[in-house]
């Protein structure tokens, strides 16, 4: 056994840097959050595993011929994976509550203020324009949108932005309530809203995805991929004639793509790229984005309350941030904290579905304004 052989065998240990060790620790933390806390495990577990495997010293999984890099090139670089996931999300989403209450659409718009306010903060911290826009998109509170937009505008920030988006998304039930309580009075939270369910015809359910696709895509071509895929999934679901495709899109395809997407994004969490002050700033700005979104939603709810002469419960505004369907449940929980039998879930679900659409629209608008393709 000569020294060359020994060197080959100890290559791994010799190349162990503090960065790789910190990154492996972060990977373990993500896995712990996924398993012990069940924070978005479907994505955080693969991301954590990808981060560990990519930061093993001399890991053959990354680099020109690495398998994780192959996965990255297969679906992240060309944005295919987030778009395929959107087909599945569309196939799983019921826009019924929104169709019953079309005016909730405006609440979805209000829930996007956080995007632009965070963009301003990021600019103030010295991030470049495309980077600031990418950080702002965390405020869309929608995983695939964040991945799609940041990959277009600032791929070097893809990893921290994705980690921030999914981490905080799983923390929505912790982040939202304090903001909601701070900005509303007990009386406002107790407002009851009548709910007259009306039957949504099959025709309406089919027209909705088609019209949304046409209107949004023609006016904001940059939003075409996001809105088109989301609405394609929904059209397949509501058409009821292509169950095989709907099932494949929302199950097999979504599962495999989620696994690949998580591993690929984790593999971009390389020490020297991730362990920078910028990452910490992004984590902080992401949290602020969530808070700002919630606050903007509630404030817009208060505005509607004024216009409707006290008949609108401002809590529902907070459901406009997307994070479907978690945000709507948090709103319902807060409402029933004040008043056990106050049932605002269906209104909140409407606002929540609007938030899903609005997030995608906002992502497209951001891309359009940046002029990137």
């Amino acid at each position: 056994m000569n020294s060359e052989t020994l060197r080959l065998l100890l290559d791994g240990v010799n190349n162990l840097s503090w960065q790789s060790m910190v990154m492996m620790a972060i990977g373990l933390l993500l896995i712990w959050l996924a398993i012990a806390k069940e924070y978005e495990p479907l994505l955080l577990l693969p991301i954590g595993a990808g981060a560990i495997l990519a930061n093993i010293p001399l890991s053959p999984l990354v680099g020109e011929h690495g398998a994780l890099t192959t996965l990255y090139n297969m679906g992240v670089e060309n944005e295919l994976f987030p778009l395929l996931i959107f087909i599945g999300i569309g196939a799983m989403t019921d826009f019924g509550p929104l169709l019953e209450n079309p005016k909730m659409v405006l609440l979805g718009a209000a829930g996007q203020f956080g995007i632009f306010l965070t963009l301003l903060l990021a600019l103030a911290l010295g991030f470049s324009q495309p980077q600031a826009a990418s950080i702002g998109i965390i405020g869309a509170i929608d995983g695939p949108t964040s991945i799609y937009v940041s990959n277009k505008l600032a791929p070097e920030l893809l990893a921290p932005i994705t980690v921030a988006a999914y981490s905080y998304m799983s923390l929505v039930p912790l982040i939202m309530p304090p903001v909601m309580r701070l900005l509303t009075t007990k009386k406002e939270r107790a407002i009851r809203m009548p709910y007259s369910s009306r039957e949504i015809s099959q025709r309406t359910r089919l027209l909705f995805p088609i019209i949304v696709t046409l209107v949004v895509s023609i006016l904001v071509p940059f939003a075409t991929p996001l809105i088109g895929m989301l609405m394609l999934g929904n059209l397949m679901r509501e058409s009821k004639v292509v169950e095989r495709l709907t099932g494949a899109a929302s199950n097999e395809l979504a599962n495999v793509v989620t696994l690949f997407l998580g591993l690929a994004i984790g593999s971009t969490m390389m020490g020297e790229r991730f362990l920078r002050p910028a990452t910490l700033f992004i984590m902080g700005l992401g949290l602020i984005a969530f808070v700002l979104d919630t606050a903007a939603g509630v404030m817009f709810g208060k505005l509607l309350n004024v216009f409707s002469k006290g008949k609108f419960n401002p809590l529902i505004g907070a459901a406009g941030i997307s994070a479907f369907p978690m945000a709507a449940r948090v709103v319902q929980k807060e409402a029933s904290r004040e008043n056990f039998d106050n049932f605002v879930l269906m209104h909140a679900m409407g606002a929540n579905a609007a938030g899903q659409v609005a997030s995608v629209v906002a992502g497209g608008v951001l891309l359009a304004l940046m002029g990137a393709a």
């Binding site: 890099t69 169709l99 301003l120 911290l125 070097e156 309406t204 609007a354 906002a362």
Partner: protein, 153 residues
């Protein structure tokens, strides 16, 4: 744009940059234009959803009117004769089964037929019986439906 070819801007150290140089104008423009467009688009969507809802209501009204017209045109049903003393229908069954038993048997038969239907054409099965994995009967039904395009499911 291959991530692994992007020159990582290691010199990016946000705090050291002079915040004074920041392009507030651009940021505010983005916020203003961005939120306006988002609100504008969603308001447009709202209007369109309203139109569709109107369409639904109009269709429902027309259907109701058509129905009313049909009822009006139809000859008035003869007034029902005064209910006899014992109005309940009794199925006279020579085997001596009472109504409840017959109902139970009927439901059992329907359920059985339903189960058989779900099992569908067994000769189309590519898998061992008992396997619910591939459920190729679903495939069979799917193909069947494709082949009879005018029957609504």
């Amino acid at each position: 744009m291959n991530l692994f070819e992007i020159p990582v801007p290691l010199e990016l150290a946000p705090l050291e940059m002079a915040p004074l140089e920041m392009d507030w104008g651009w940021g505010l423009m983005m916020t203003g234009v961005g939120m306006s467009v988002v609100f504008g688009l969603l308001a447009l969507l709202w209007a369109l959803l309203h139109l569709i809802a109107r369409g639904d209501e109009w269709a429902a009204r027309r259907a109701a009117r058509a129905e009313a017209a049909a009822v009006a045109q139809a000859p008035a049903p003869k007034p029902v004769a005064a209910a006899p003393a014992s109005p309940t229908v009794t199925i006279a069954d020579p085997d001596g089964l009472d109504d409840d038993t017959i109902a139970a048997i009927a439901i059992a038969v329907i359920k059985h037929a339903d189960v058989r239907r779900k099992q569908a054409a067994p000769e189309m099965r590519a898998n061992a019986p008992g396997s619910q994995l591939w459920a190729s009967r679903w495939v069979a039904v799917g193909r069947g439906l494709q082949n009879t395009p005018w029957r609504r499911r």
